[in-house]
Symmetry: C2
Subunit: 350 residues, 2 copies
DNA sequence: TTGATAAATGTAACCGTTTACATTTTTTTT
DNA sequence: AAAAAAAATGTAAACGGTTACATTTATCAA
């Protein structure tokens, strides 16, 4: 029942009557150790059930081999694909991951950052919470020269490397598409404009309107959080508009899905009465009815790029100084929810 | 640009002209240190930007303060709620989390287990992959007396603690409900019967049929994985059945949603022609149309219970020997997708 | 065979904590 | 004021690796 003593390099060394230095080198596959001794050591280590003590190693090496990740929410299709992308790259490179999430709270994000800082992650990948006010909590990383890469929700003024899509263009494309479908009163449902993703999509929305000679009407802008109740609220606001809007560009698929459901419950036809375009290309898009047009935002690519950039930096390959902004390709996916104009649809589909 | 040297207890000690032992004790808030010295030490530590070196501490303490988690999939509503539950409890107790996922592959699960074992997690929480053949890869934990708790997908014969719901009863309830709605040819779409969750739900399905005098028809059993393509295949199989089934108990909400879509695309009405009950109570349930009846499987509770049990065990409170199986409450949620019988629906709703 | 060179192995300091045990300082008792 | 007891602090040895530098052993040319 009692915990068996752990095997150390000392045990292996004394069993084979060699020095710990040789054992240590052999286990790291140092070419300086002869093949014969290496084999003996490997075999015995295996037989004795040796496992490296990462604490001893990290203590000596002064690095943790760990990368911290702060995301604003776990329960999101997009975020889990980003994490998958990060994980793929980091495990391949032999790094551990500590994943923290802020639940969209500034306070929690600060706590997460502090925690990861004290855990001494070698690098950090983060996406800001909705109500993050400033980036002071990342300063300590900067001071200790721990690289930080932001993705999705970022602050672009700083000198941090950021991985994003062209939110501006995406917003423009979504809106332009709705206009081409004949929409003239297009609602824009989004979240805090303090966050780059939303402000840029908003800019794209306004630019598309302007380019089509449609005046921007601020009563058509609805800002809310990303919860189900907020989504229902937003849909209710749309329903109260007079005249009714004929299109909606909603910057989150889940919110779009809930809105659509609420509108339908109130006998509004989609896309007949109101055409809808969402954002992210989550799995729900093709499960709801009508299928949701959206902007494809490939999380896995974002994660992979962010992680491999960070790791390259840690390894000293390439410097982050000259790559400040990395833009991942995104694109509009047209489905039934925005197709008022069948002839247009035919053109696109064939 | 160069990395500033880290502050250690030596630096604090020599700055205050006291011994490192006192500093170490003070920082752990040991009552043996006088209030005066403690204050001096805390203040200076803060001012110098001291942060504990967890490696040195763990090396000395011979524990990692880390809990490993192996899940079969990250991209799942249920799993992310379990993780949220685990995280809540573990961070409160000051433990770190390493999350690994097997992507339903036995090979990867073995690799994950080996990795976490080498990282020396203090405890492990795991759910088996679909094609896990045996539990040999967990033996090393047993040998070193590292506690392992399984949840959801478990192997009940062993002497491990497991956290589950009453899958048997849930399967029975789902099927019974369909029968009460008038269904007589009920398809059961599920996954590998090697996994307890599916075999037990299957047993519940059969028992409910038997109790209602409906003979079990093995052509109505469809076994598949949980992918979108598999779900479409399953729906196609249903469509080819002659006569058509009039109900379906599907052990996964996502699969159920895809099946429902496929059926509808083929002009089958739900619940009119085929009533459907899913499993898990994912967010999609109320977004698709008709809303999906399902078994509510509260992941967050599962995670919290598993984690707090593990931690209690690690702290020596309560022994895992006498608590082998923990059953979390689950319940049937009736929505439109299974309501053929309006009067019954009214009864339930009022 | 010898000396030079290369290859393999060994020695010992170090990474930053914790803690049993020893010592010093302060407080209390008589 | 001295002795005894309690409180505070200090000393030094772990914990298990890594690696600069030193030493030994093997290889090869002359």
């Amino acid at each position: 029942m009692s915990k068996k003593k752990e095997v150390t390099i000392y045990d292996i060394a004394s069993a084979l009557n060699i020095s710990i230095a040789t054992v240590s080198r052999a286990l790291k596959n140092d070419p300086v150790v002869s093949k014969r001794t290496k084999k003996k050591i490997f075999d015995l280590a295996e037989k004795m059930g040796y496992r490296t003590n990462h604490f001893a190693r990290n203590l000596r090496n002064q690095k943790t081999n760990t990368i911290g990740v702060i995301v604003h929410e776990l329960n999101s299709n997009f975020i889990t694909s980003v994490l998958a992308g990060i994980e793929k790259v980091t495990t391949e490179a032999g790094y551990d991951l500590i994943i923290a999430h802020s639940s969209e709270s500034f306070i929690k994000e600060i706590a997460n950052a502090k925690n990861l800082f004290h855990k001494r992650v070698d690098g950090l990948i983060a996406s800001l919470s909705l109500d993050t006010k400033n980036l002071d909590h990342f300063k300590s990383f900067e001071e200790k020269n721990v690289p930080v890469i932001f993705f999705d929700r970022v602050e672009q003024e700083g000198k941090n490397t950021v991985v994003v899509i062209d939110n501006d263009k995406s917003g423009y494309q979504a809106t332009q598409h709705l206009i081409q479908q004949g929409c003239r009163r297009i609602v824009h449902i989004t979240s805090s404009l303090k966050r780059n993703v939303y402000s840029k999509r908003f800019k794209g929305y306004k630019d598309a309107l302007a380019d089509n000679g449609i005046p921007y009407d601020e009563t058509l802008l609805i800002i809310n959080d990303l919860s189900e109740s907020a989504a229902i609220e937003s849909a209710m606001k749309m329903l109260k508009m007079d005249p009714l809007p004929d299109g909606a560009f909603i910057t989150n698929d889940f919110v779009a899905a809930v809105c659509m459901r609420t509108l339908k419950e109130n006998n509004i036809r989609v896309p007949g009465d109101i055409a809808i375009v969402g954002f992210n290309n989550d799995a729900i898009c093709t499960l709801i009815e009508p299928a949701l047009s959206t902007i494809n935002y490939p999380g896995i690519d974002v994660g992979e790029v962010a992680a491999s950039n960070l790791i390259n930096h840690l390894k000293g390959v390439g410097n982050m100084q000259n790559t400040n902004t990395i833009i991942i390709r995104s694109n509009l996916i047209i489905r039934k929810s925005s197709l008022k104009n069948e002839s247009y649809s035919d053109k696109r589909k064939n």
